[in-house]
């Protein structure tokens, strides 16, 4: 019989209580996996969208809002000539309610700009010119809204025609409503305004040179900022807030798990008081008793973590297909996040077991001879 078997037997002596404690931890860990996976997925989904458009640098004025704030379209002309800039494309992007969809990405793109290039038409066609009152739907957006080529789409007060359904090569692109920038400016009353410039750099440019170009762009456009595509989301205040809220909410759930494990382990020590005294009387060192309690609580944490990761993955898969989220982001459920979550669960177990272990170490072996 190994020491591990002793520990496992300790946990199995009250299977219902052990099971309920596992559920408590696993809910906390599921929250970590789901919320953090979603917030990280937000960054990776938008980064993938940028990559599929061939965008290396994004010029934006994103501060506290999720969608960047508008700035004059004339800024585009100030950077187009810079060495290292291969192409630029003005963008006006909005996150807005469209018909029954609570939040859609509406992407107005400079007519003829490179940011149209990644769209592969699956059915229908592209708009014929910038003035055509038409939209192209990413395939997920079309699916979410139940639209087909030829259908009408109500956007604000304007009725537009769905002329095509396209595959943009990335989840965010496929979840977008795409139209010409000038048309969106007109609909939103933002004439002459954009809120992003997609910049494609000359091929072969290394990362350091791209960062120098970002600095140069930021200097030339004081009202906006040039950043490597993806980083502009990761470093935005909004994302940081979402991320902090995800961790905060998750850790609250984990705290509930801590209290659950601590309660279970205290009950265990209380119930097994005489057993622990017998072990001490039979020659077990106090350090071994402490290790036994800590290992039991760590194992509770470990298995709670495994179940929690499974629950989190299942929960995220349900959530990502809800109409409110579908097409906006693909949760990032990396192996790293799962390992981190299980490690958090084990740490929860160990921390929760510290006080019960200390209590157990205070027991006197002479109690073994009583009763």
């Amino acid at each position: 019989m190994t020491f591990l078997a002793v520990i496992a037997r300790g946990l199995l002596r009250r299977p219902v209580r052990t099971g309920l404690t596992l559920v408590g931890i696993s809910i906390g860990i599921a929250a970590v996996v789901a919320l953090v996976g979603m917030s990280r997925g937000f960054v990776s989904s938008w980064t993938a969208g940028m990559k599929s458009r061939g965008t290396d640098i994004v010029v934006h004025s994103m501060r506290t809002s999720l969608a960047p704030r508008p700035f004059p379209a004339a800024a585009q002309g100030r950077i187009a000539h810079l060495p290292g800039v291969a192409a630029t494309c003005g963008i006006l992007v909005e996150l807005m309610s469209v018909e029954n969809s609570e939040m859609m990405i509406v992407s107005g793109r400079e007519w003829g700009g490179f940011s149209w290039g990644n769209l592969k038409v699956l059915s229908g066609r592209m708009p014929t010119d910038a003035a055509e009152r038409a939209v192209v739907l990413g395939k997920t957006a079309a699916d979410v809204m139940g639209k087909k080529v030829g259908n009408k789409l109500q956007m604000e007060t304007e009725e537009l025609t769905v002329v095509g359904i396209a595959d943009g090569g990335a989840l965010v692109e496929n979840g977008s409503v795409i139209l010409s920038m000038s048309l969106l400016q007109e609909i939103m009353g933002n004439q002459g305004q954009i809120n992003a410039i997609d910049v494609r750099v000359t091929p072969g440019m290394d990362e350091a040179a791209i960062r120098r170009l970002c600095d140069e762009i930021s200097r030339l456009i004081p009202e906006a900022r040039g950043q490597v595509a993806g980083e502009h989301i990761r470093e935005s205040q909004s994302y940081r807030m979402i991320n902090a809220m995800s961790w905060g909410t998750s850790l609250l759930a984990v705290l509930v798990g801590v209290l659950g494990v601590m309660n279970t382990m205290l009950m265990t020590v209380f119930e097994r008081k005489q057993e622990i005294c017998i072990l001490l009387a039979l020659g077990w060192k106090r350090s071994r008793i402490i290790r036994m309690i800590l290992w039991e609580s760590a194992m509770l944490g470990f298995f709670g973590g495994i179940v929690g990761v499974a629950l989190g993955v299942a929960g995220v898969n349900v959530m990502k297909n809800t109409p409110a989220i579908r097409g906006l982001l693909e949760p990032e459920l990396s192996v790293g996040l799962m390992i981190t979550s299980v490690l958090i669960a084990v740490a929860v177990g160990v921390v929760s077991g510290l006080y019960p272990a200390w209590r157990s170490s205070r027991l006197t072996p002479s109690l073994a001879l009583q009763g």
Binding site: Q274, A281, L282, G283, K285, P365, S366, A368, L369
Partner: protein, 246 residues
């Protein structure tokens, strides 16, 4: 026979045998001195002796056993194990694990472990490998005649069988001293007889020192020496056959 014995008694065993325990004016009190369990007892116990500690409930015999097993510390006085002060042992757990074996009145087998697993419990504090622990446990169960019940949980064993498993467990690390606290207290007379016979046989064959606490005069008479206690004092120390005279 004096009412109290404050000086170490002469060893009842062969004079050449080594002294295992020596107590001098040993006292133990609880609750800030309000309860005095031991009021200054002195004795010597030599290697290989079978000593019965007898007396009524509350006379201090279990407290004495706790001191000998390093489960508790005396309030004053000296208690030596092979010349070393027991209360000052740097690691009492090691002493309990390697030098002594405990047999309890209520068996105290762990209910979630089988007989053979219970016997392995004390061996965790030794250098024995997993197969060695298993082999030793099987050997000990065979010594108490329970090799066929090795994989049974305590709930599936009779009272006598449980106590035999507990005896096997107490022998697991090959102790030189066996401390038994009312080992037949929870057994019927037939099982009690078997357990006493087993303890006597192990004492003879393994030449270990056996200290057995009992309130049963009949059991005490099977020992080679009896220490009778009353109100925290030793009132008799000698040949068990003379117990009725005390």
């Amino acid at each position: 026979m004096p009412e109290t014995m404050n000086q170490p008694a002469p060893a009842a065993g062969p004079s050449a045998a080594a002294c295992v325990f020596e107590a001098v004016d040993l006292k133990k009190s609880y609750d800030d001195g309000q309860v005095q369990a031991l009021r200054g007892v002195s004795f010597r116990i030599n290697e290989g002796e079978f000593v019965a500690v007898i007396g009524p409930s509350g006379c201090g015999k279990t407290t004495l056993l706790q001191m000998l097993g390093a489960l508790d510390r005396p309030s004053s006085g000296a208690l030596l194990y092979r010349g070393k002060s027991l209360p000052d042992l740097p690691e009492p757990a090691t002493y309990r694990a390697r030098e002594i074996g405990f047999v309890f009145q209520s068996f105290h087998l762990l209910p979630t472990f089988t007989a053979v697993e219970n016997v392995q419990i004390p061996m965790f504090e030794t250098d024995r490998s997993l197969p060695e622990r298993r082999e030793r446990a099987d050997e000990m169960l065979k010594a108490v005649g329970l090799e066929k019940r090795a994989n049974h949980f305590p709930s599936k064993l009779s009272g006598g069988e449980r106590q035999r498993v507990a005896i096997a467990r107490s022998l697991a690390n090959g102790p030189s001293v066996l401390l038994a606290d009312e080992p037949t207290g929870n057994l019927d007379s037939q099982n009690a007889g078997h357990v006493l016979e087993l303890l006597s046989r192990l004492h003879r064959e393994q030449k270990m020192t056996l200290i057995l606490v009992t309130h049963d005069m009949g059991i005490a008479r099977r020992a080679s020496r009896a220490i009778q206690m009353k109100d925290g004092h030793i009132v008799f120390d000698g040949n068990p056959a003379e117990l009725s005279l005390a």
